[in-house]
Every structure is written in C-alpha cells, then in structure tokens.
Symmetry: C2
Subunit: 401 residues, 2 copies
C-alpha cells in the first residue's frame, strides 16, 4: 500500500522518540509498503520560538513568524531522515516547498492552494521513503508560510489526497477517538470506526485527536484516515466515508463542553430583522455564537437564548450594550455546560432524543436549551451536572457494551 | 552608504543580544545608511543540532544535515527582522534561497556559484533593511546547502560583492586583528588597517576573526571589510587592498602556532622525484604539510625537514612507513612551535629577517627551520620558547609603539 504517516509533536518529542518512530517506519517499509512521512516540530519547540518572537513584539510580522516557526519541522524532518538512513532505509527529507505545497499568502494561517503529486511520487518511485516537514508551504512568490493550528495534520491529509494514498495514519499520544472522555467515564470505549461527519462533531466539541480543517479536507478528498498512538501498537480509530459503514451505530459517543456561557434576551422587540442585527453585531466582534434558540414571548415580544464560549462573555456584554432597551432583559449565565450525543445512525432512528431527555430527567438534570442536527443532539444544562450527564447518557445508549 | 553587516553566533547568542544588535542596526539606519544584515545561528545551536544528528549516525546523510543545520540561521534571521520592525525599522527576512544564493551540490561545504544582485537590491530599493540567514544557499535543483565553517562570513562578503556594497562589517566578540595574541603579550595593539594578504597569513596562523575563504573572496571581489566587536563601539580593523595603504608597515604582527610537529628525514636517497613521491603519499593521506626545507647532505644523500599539524603526526608516521630505508633516518619532534612575522612592507625593506634572527639569538632561542615568503617569515623553534619568542619579536619590531 501507499501510506502517509504523520507523527505529532509528542511522538517526535525527544531524540529517543525520533529513534522509535524511525523503527516503526522501518517496520512498515519491511512489510512492503511505500511510505511518505509527515512530521511536526519536537513538542515544545514551536512554543519556544513563539516566546522568543513575543519577547520582541506582541504582534510580530507574520511573514517573519512563518520563517521562524517553519524551522522546527525542518529539524525533525532532517533528523528522522538521518535516523532512517542509519537503519538501512533509503530516506529523503523534503521541506514543504520541496514537496510542492503552494499556499495563499495569508501568513501564519495559510490555506493550501495546490499540491502537485510529482515531487513526492517521483521520489517514492525511486524507492525512497519521503519525509516531509509538516505545517508549512510557500507562496507562489516563494515566501515560507505556515498553515496554522493542526497544520501538520493538514499537510498529511493534503499530501495523501494529492498522491492518492491508500491510507493516512495520524500518530498522536492517544489511542484514537473514544465514546466519551475516559477521564469522566472510565467505561469509555475506543471507537474502531467513525465517519467524517461524526468526527467533525467530535472535533468541534473538543476531542483533540484531529482538527476540523483536516477532517473536512479528508472528507473532500476521500482520504481514509486512521488515528493511532505512536507509543503502542493498538489499532486506532478509522475515519472514513459513511457509505462504507456496514452497520451504522445509532449513537457513537458523548461529548461534554464546559467552556460555554448562556445569554438570555427576554422580551426582545419582535420586529423583522432584530435577530439579524443582534448576531451581525456579535459576528463583527468575532464572537463565536454556537446554539441559538428563539421562543415566542408575550405582548409582541420574543425571547432569544444563545450560547457563546465562556472566554468571550465580557466582549459579548460590551457588544450588546449598544442595543439598549430594545433587547429587553438580559441574563448572562456562566455556569452552564453543553452535552451532546453524536451518531450518524440517529438520522434513521426515532426515539433517540426522547431517550436522551428521559435519561437526564431520571437524574433530575434540568435541560435549559436544546439544539438538534441530523447527527447530533445537544443540550445545555447546569455546569455541575456535566460529568453526571455524560455517564448517564453513556449508559443509556449502552456505549460500554 | 550601502553597508553589509554580519553578526556572528555570540553577537546573537541570546534574546538580549539580538535586541542589542537590532538597536545597533537601527543606529546605522538612522544615520542614513542602506543596510543588509547577515546573521549566524545563536551560539551553541549549530553544535546542538550536530549532536542530535550524531546520536543517530556517525556519518549522517549530508543533504539532510544541510536541511538540519540551515534551520539555526533562519531562526535568528526571523527574530532580528521582528525585532527591527518593532523598533520602527522596516525589515524583511530572507533565507539564502530567497537572497538568490546558488551553490554547487557539495553538501555541508558547498561553494557559492552565483548571487544575482536583484533579490536583495530590489528590497533595499523599497527602503527595507534586508536580513539574510547566513551560511546557506540552494543548489540549482532547490536543495538547501550549507557553506561549511565560517560560512556566514562568506555569505556576507559574497553579498557585499554582488550588490557592490561600500563596506562589509563583520561583527564578532573581539575588537579586531591584533599585532599578536593579547593573552601572550599584553602590549599587543589592535591594528587599524591590514591588507588582504596579511590577513590571509594571520588567518592561516590561527587569528580567529575571519577565515581564509572569506578573505580570499573579499580580495577577489575588492570588498572592503571591517572586523568589529558587537559588544562595544570600538573602531575595529579595516581589511583592504594594499594599494590603498598610505604607509605600509614593515611588520604588522606576530603569530604563534603551537600545534605543529616537525618531521626530519636524514639521508634520503638523492634521486629525482623522491620529494614528489614523499609529498604525494602525504597528500593522498590528506596530511597538510606546511613548511618544507631541503638541504644538501653527504654521500649523495639529502635531508628533508617539514612540519605538519600535531594532530596528524600518527597518520604521517604510517604514511611514511611504506618507504622503508629509502628515507634514511626518520625523526619526529612534537615539541616545536612556529613563530611568524607578517607584514606587507617587508617586501621593500631589507634587514627584516636579520633583525628577527638576532633578536631570537639574544634570547638564546635556537632556530630549527626557516621559511620565507614575500610578506612573511616563519621560524620553527622549541615549543617551550614560543611565548618568549612572540614577546621578543613584538618588542624588536616596536609593535607596542
């Protein structure tokens, strides 16, 4: 098979770890696979570089930041190629530029424009293991760019798509995607299989294995992704197209997000366009509104509830202050949590939501807001019940079985 | 003026030092100069990278070593540009590739093939301070190369030549070139002016401010070089063409090299080609023979004396073993030192050598070998007299005046 493997910061965090990764790559090569390896910077290195830059400027020039930050991945890339050659594997190190990764010019969060398959495939064709510095590309003018958070994952998925790899393995320091956070519910089980859309929901709810941008790209390019642990030999979680699932689970997992705040506008003047105005102002202030619920009120007034990230609460208050009395009474609640059940199978099953609400009711957990999508149901509850709700729902949908 | 400034590893060794360099650059900019800055890696960084590579392989792939080693200069280059922007100077960071430095493909010790002036000059024309990562270039195929020891000096001189800079300032942690090592003779004086050829002799005799490759290139491209101390405001030593000297000093300085060994071949069969054979064998063994003296011996035999680096003594013994009796009696002396007087003015002055010999004789220092060139006289003496000889000659030529 033609396989892209990506190793994250902790997986290449020390000389010993890079040596261990080299041995793992060699095993795959010995099994006859053709390999392209994408690496992150050694863990801590990027933060160190950022700190150095910030000691000079709070807002360092982004073009120069990219030259600075891209150096960390070059180090691991070169070292891994050296280690592989020492093990008798013929390996070649390539920067993002050498791999042909061209991006736009939005420094520190560039978007990939194109990756020709030729630079990498021609070396693979020569029998080489190609080791690529992740997280980076160049503008058409040849300036170094970086791809922002999770950028090395993005490099791996994009390369896998460009060369039509059979598989893209993302190595981290966890075993894969779990039915819920094992620190909350010790019966949490690792999922063997998950579809792109479910993974998107998990990622946006805080599961750290893979960021949304990479999942979206994998879906778009139909790249089969496996997230695995580089510290053991466990099987990992495969992320693939829903169509390929033999049996679709009703609920795949439970997610908890405790960094939420709820804003209630009670008795808003019910005139056309008021909602658009409110959320337009919040969008201009770069506040990420999540759930929105509008209910009919009394006396030609309406009630609007929405959630925002806890950290953006003060900004939200300022942004809304301009409206004055038009918004009615404003309540802000920073003691809420969002619990979600996620599962591509719920599309075709009835009663999924009802089971959720009754399970929570049995534990006397009051539901403050509800929001549903095709593959997710989220409820807002009091923060203190968050963990209990996760365990209750984990059992209700028999995820420990 | 259009000035190239180069800052070495200790000059940019810490965040504080990079900040100090930024202020120095700003002062030059405020004086109206147009500036191109070349930087080394922070001191210690390159060694750290080499150590990491050597933990995997004693002979790491050189192409990958270059990708690894070139990352250190990129870090300082980006940081200095960020620091300059923060001070209100419009600066742009460029890698060796972006500055247009094309080299051959001899990785880890590449030679510069060409530097077009356009990439750097066009940015200077835009009013930018251009900060260039030293020590690196790219092959015509786009692979990163490094220039070997002293590579950042070479970058600076080559860039200065390409853009026809008025001046190339090399900043280190010493004030310039001295009449002799101040640790040996405390009356040693800093030279204000020295010509390329003298500097070549000083460099080959161990003065650390500038390597021969850079001096040779400066001479070839007629680049006026000043070596200065980045830790103070002292004037430094200007290295320029002999023709521009108003008054040529007879002797500019004294150099001592204690890492020498002497080989004496006494009673070599005096047949044509024997010397060529001996030194051919040594050259094949990569032994750097320095001084060679041949004297007439007795009975159709000849005597050949030569010096080699102390570290290559054992290799030399092995290399000569193959000749057997043809070399006569072989003596090896690892207790010698070489003392040299250097001065472009001695070409046109008589009696320079005589004064050297008589000064040494007065101190009862026995001369074992003598070698002369147009601008240098070297003698080999017993190691233990090395420092005394330096002080004696320093006084004899009135270098403390």
């Amino acid at each position: 098979m033609l396989i892209v493997q990506k190793y994250g910061g902790t997986s290449v965090g020390t000389i010993e770890r890079i040596g261990a990764v080299a041995k793992r790559v060699k095993r795959a090569a010995d099994q006859g696979h053709r390999l392209v390896i994408v690496v992150s910077a050694m863990s801590g290195e990027t933060n160190k570089l950022v700190e150095m830059a910030h000691s000079f400027s709070k807002t360092p020039a982004t073009r120069e930041m990219d030259m600075l930050l891209s150096s960390g991945e070059r180090v691991t890339c070169a070292l891994l190629a050296i280690a592989l050659n020492e093990l008798g594997c013929s390996a070649i190190a390539m920067t993002g530029r050498q791999a042909g990764i061209v991006t736009d010019s939005v420094h520190t969060k560039a978007r990939i424009r194109e990756i020709p398959c030729e630079p990498v495939l021609s070396k693979v064709g020569d029998g080489k293991i190609v080791v690529i510095a992740g997280f980076q590309g160049v503008t058409p003018e040849g300036d170094v760019t970086t791809l922002g958070r999770g950028g090395s994952d993005l490099t791996a998925v994009a390369i896998a798509g460009a060369i039509k790899a059979d598989l893209c393995e993302i190595y981290t320091d966890v075993d894969g995607v779990y039915t819920t956070d094992p620190r909350i519910e010790e019966k949490a089980k690792k999922l063997n299989l998950i579809c792109y859309d479910e993974m998107l929901e998990f990622a946006s709810l805080g599961a750290k294995v893979l960021q949304n941008r990479s999942v979206e790209l994998a879906k778009k390019l139909s790249v089969k992704v496996i997230t695995r642990n580089s510290f053991n030999e466990n099987e990992g979680t495969t992320i693939m197209d829903e169509e390929e699932f033999m049996e679709k689970p009703v609920v795949s997992g439970i997610a908890l997000d405790k960094n939420q705040a709820r804003v209630s506008l009670i008795g808003v003047a019910d005139r056309p366009g008021i909602a658009a105005e409110i959320f337009g102002v919040l969008a201009n202030a770069s506040i990420n509104v999540d759930m929105i619920v509008q209910t009919v009120g009394q006396d030609e007034k309406t009630n609007i509830d929405f959630t925002i990230p806890l950290a953006e609460l003060e900004q939200t208050k300022s942004a809304l202050a301009g409206f004055g009395a038009a918004l009615g009474r404003q309540e802000f609640d920073d003691t809420v949590a969002k619990v979600s059940i996620i599962g591509v199978g719920m599309k075709s099953h009835s009663g999924v939501a009802a089971r959720m609400f009754s399970a929570l009711a049995k534990e006397n957990i009051n539901i403050l807001m509800i929001s549903t999508s095709e593959i997710k149901i989220s409820v807002v509850i009091a923060n203190k019940y968050g963990e209990l709700a996760v365990r209750t729902l984990h059992a209700a949908y028999e995820l420990d079985k």
